[in-house]
């Protein structure tokens, strides 16, 4: 019986831990939000057609598609921001943890489902007051300064601003302002965080920082992000939904959608052969 193989000098002889790749779906998935047969109208014009979508908890779901495909509109229905437009009309149901969001009080809903917008929109107040704004409305279990610090840490901004909390938010750079808006949204501990093209107004380094932040934030909340930059969706999300002229064309785990999409239109879009 011959001796077993001589171990190589610096190559491992124990098999690596069989962790799935960081983006493979680990069953079972809990659905945090469900979009159920939603049709959406601005006045007489229909903008979303029969959308059925499940948002998985503690994952990043991205919505991609060409301009005007309805992805931002769909995102805004998730926290009922569409109601700020008078002529908007929503048919169908949207559920969060199986409760219909349309039946719930809208301000309570918006505490559970927060939003970060395309251009950073900090209030004309100090950095501290910006983060504390939501807490003052909704209350907090911690002391105000603890809660603000916690949020700023989660948004990877604490170290940069901890000595200047009283300064105006407008003195921060664009990337910092956007992280401040993220901290502000996180302060009320939402279950879901919606982001509408959060990096489109930012430079590449700030964009990279925010992308890394989003990947880490999955532990805290569910994330839904709209992006016109599909490479960003590829880098950051676990699930991707492709929309085209108001219809949901494909919804798959991100690795699958970007390597072997099931619909030809999806493939045309992601290979850049569109339009």
């Amino acid at each position: 019986m011959h001796a077993s193989a001589r171990p190589a000098v610096s190559v491992k002889i124990t098999p690596p831990v069989t962790t799935p790749s960081s983006r493979e779906a680990q069953a079972p998935l809990v659905m945090r939000m469900t979009v159920d047969k939603v049709n959406f109208f601005y006045g007489p014009k229909q903008v979303l057609f029969d959308i059925d979508l499940n948002i998985a908890a503690s994952k990043v779901t991205s919505l991609i598609g060409p301009s005007g495909c309805g992805k931002s509109t769909l995102l805004r229905t998730l926290n009922r921001m569409h109601e700020t437009v008078r002529s908007s009309r929503l048919e169908g149901q949207i559920l969060i943890d199986n409760q219909n969001i349309l039946a719930e009080d809208v301000t309570a809903l918006r505490r559970r489902v927060g939003m970060v917008f395309q251009r950073p929109n900090p209030f004309p107040k100090s950095i501290f007051e910006n983060v504390a704004y939501g807490l003052r409305i909704n209350g907090t279990k911690l002391s105000m300064s603890d809660a603000v610090e916690k949020s700023l840490r989660h948004a990877a901004l604490w170290d940069e601003v901890k000595d200047q909390l009283h300064k105006s938010a407008y003195e921060l750079s664009g990337g910092q302002q956007q992280r401040l808006c993220i901290a502000r949204a996180l302060a009320v501990e939402p279950e879901v965080l919606l982001l509408d093209e959060p990096c489109s107004a930012l430079d590449p380094i700030s964009t990279a920082k925010i992308e890394e932040l989003l990947v880490q934030l999955r532990d805290l909340c569910t994330i839904v992000i709209v992006t016109h930059n599909m490479q960003q969706a590829a880098r950051v999300s676990d699930f991707t939904a492709f929309l085209l002229t108001g219809q949901l064309i494909e919804f798959s785990p991100t690795p699958q959608l970007f390597t072997t999409p099931s619909d030809a239109r999806t493939e045309a879009y992601i290979t850049g052969r569109f339009g």
Binding site: M1, H2, S4, A5, R6, P7, A8, V9, S10, V11, K12, I13, P15, P16, T19, S21, S22, R23, A208, K209, E212, V215, Q231, A234, R235, T254, P255, F258, T259
Partner: protein
Amino acid sequence: MERHFERDLNDLKERLLWMGSLAERAVHQAVHSVLDSDEQLANRVLAEEDAINELQIEVDDRVVQLLALHQLMAVDLRFVLAISRINNDLERIGDQAVNIAQGSLRILRHPRVKPYVDLPRMSELAEEMVRDALNAVVRRDVELAQKVLASDDQVDNFRDQIFRELLTYMMGDSSVVFPAFELILVAKNLERIGDHATNIAEDVIYIVQGQDVRHPTVDRR
């Protein structure tokens, strides 16, 4: 700033290196099954073939995903592309080891043709090349890779020598044709293993320096 795809890159590298260690072990066991006339060792090689092939598929899947999802640039891009090629070379090395093991089983049915002198030396060189190539991948060591490239000629010489020697044996005694022929095939397999190790070394140079050193006679302009 550490990016989250670096975790995926490291996972990929680990899998490749594990595959490398399996391939290296397969070569060692296959060769010794011939040198020591060990049937069990040969069978073990045949049993472990699947593991290497499964890893090849897995590594390729991950390569595709990494390229699609993360717009890799520069050294990351070269690294992943090189891993894809090294993947293939490792799988071929595994195949060659299997061929040697199968040949070993056939040789065992016959008495030894002659004392093995060149074969152990050749196999040691081939194993060393594989080992050095894999270490060069781990450490991104261009010098080590150059050493492997330099050994390729020596392996080829060994094969020619064994071939000539066994040819004279076969011409002298027709009863040893069958095992001698198998031994020639084993030498051929070892030479192929050396070639694949050379390919891996060339890929290492590509990763580190961005230079494609294959086929030096080809005009690159």
